[in-house]
Symmetry: C2
Subunit: 216 residues, 2 copies
DNA sequence: ACACTCGCCTACCGATCGGTAGGGAGACCC
DNA sequence: GGGTCTCCCTACCGATCGGTAGGCGAGTGT
């Protein structure tokens, strides 16, 4: 891996763990094994490095999301979307921590980023929620935008602090247990009980179908 | 207000907004209107100030919670507990931001704090959840500890970043809307639909009762 | 009147911060 | 082989960091 990528990687880990203000350029360069001046050759300033780290993270996400939205089968869209979102942050909890820190540290900048990067998607999905509500599959009293926001939040926050808050869950699979409950909450509070049953039935039918096709 | 309290207050606001590492002693003392050396007269070090800020916050909470647990009527315990928790953090969102930052910045220290301050309460409430599950009022597939953790998380995270994430909710009452949805999700994903109806019926009866008593 | 404490101050400390200047080894082009 | 570009280095900058030393004025107790 080239030095620039190593710097980006180390900066991501350190910013996530100690925050932007709490991480010095010396610390990052030391983690990579080069001198501070070399770091500043690749990134002209600490702020530029910070932007690069965030861009790197968000571009990953923007690359995953559209593929996900169109790939997910129409009916189980929410299920797949939720699960893949969880997987994305679970694959590297530092992603969740970075976003959380950014929201706390620079609310104004984060707001601007969200406005252009997230809001359009959010509106598309919210529209699907409204359709599901009209069909009686989703709870009518849910606030689509508020719900989506809260779920994103539940996932990001839950994963970012799973280690810390996991103190009340003594067993070792605490993260799995927490994630499982998060997914359960997200689904239960969106689907009506009928919708949930219908969704399960559809998935069973599809799995059956897949098996048949695989057997051929 | 005496200077010490002013310092504590300013430090709380600044730590919440910019984090511990991102806030200098000069900034805090400037906000109060005294010199840095005067600040260090009241608090021997930055770290001591930080501890004082956190102790101040947690003691508030520990003062509120027990009163809350015993005051809430047996059947609507969850409702009252949830709502008062929301109110506690909504009254000063900096509380939520501070806790969130602490969990990110010093996971080890936070874990220790949680272990002694939160875990006992959590276990008591989880026991009540299990009872409710046995009665069929609460969803049997919920993981009591995981659920409680996630709700705390949903509330704290939601309130801490309501301003930032509220970008997708254009209207002015965004915070109210978000909070309302958070409460809805928390209840819907815990109560069975029967339990929810029963709870509503109980509350209606009680309100009726209150009116009668007030009319006498 | 005196000593003493409290609360805040000015002045300063060494360490570390983000960032700059400039040099040198190696690869590549002509 | 000379020129140049890439990449990393040593050495240094002024600013700011958390923290210390010590003085000064306003009470307070005796």
């Amino acid at each position: 891996m080239d030095v620039r990528a190593q710097i980006l990687d180390a900066a991501t880990r350190l910013f996530a763990a100690q925050g932007y203000g709490g991480t010095s350029l010396s610390a990052i360069s030391a983690a990579v094994g080069v001198r501070k001046a070399s770091l500043l050759y690749h990134f002209p300033s600490k702020d530029a490095l910070h932007r690069a780290v965030l861009d790197n993270l968000l571009s990953h996400w923007n690359e995953v999301l559209p593929r996900l939205l169109e790939a997910a089968a129409g009916d189980d869209r929410f299920d797949a979307l939720l699960h893949e979102t969880v997987r994305f942050f679970l694959a590297d909890p530092d992603r969740a921590r970075l976003l959380l820190r950014e929201a706390l540290d620079r609310p104004e900048a984060m707001r601007a980023r969200l406005r252009v990067a997230v809001k359009p998607w959010m509106e598309v999905i919210a529209e699907y929620v409204r359709k599901g509500q009209a069909q009686g599959e989703l709870r009518a009293d849910a606030d689509p935008e508020g719900y989506l926001l809260s779920v994103v939040h539940l996932v990001i926050g839950g994963i970012a602090t799973a280690d810390t808050l996991g103190v009340v869950l003594d067993d070792e699979g605490r993260t799995e247990r927490l994630v499982h409950e998060i997914e359960r909450m997200a689904k239960t509070s969106l689907f009506t009980d009928e919708g949930l049953a219908a969704s399960r039935a559809r998935r069973a039918a599809r799995d059956d179908d897949d098996e048949h096709r695989a057997a051929e």
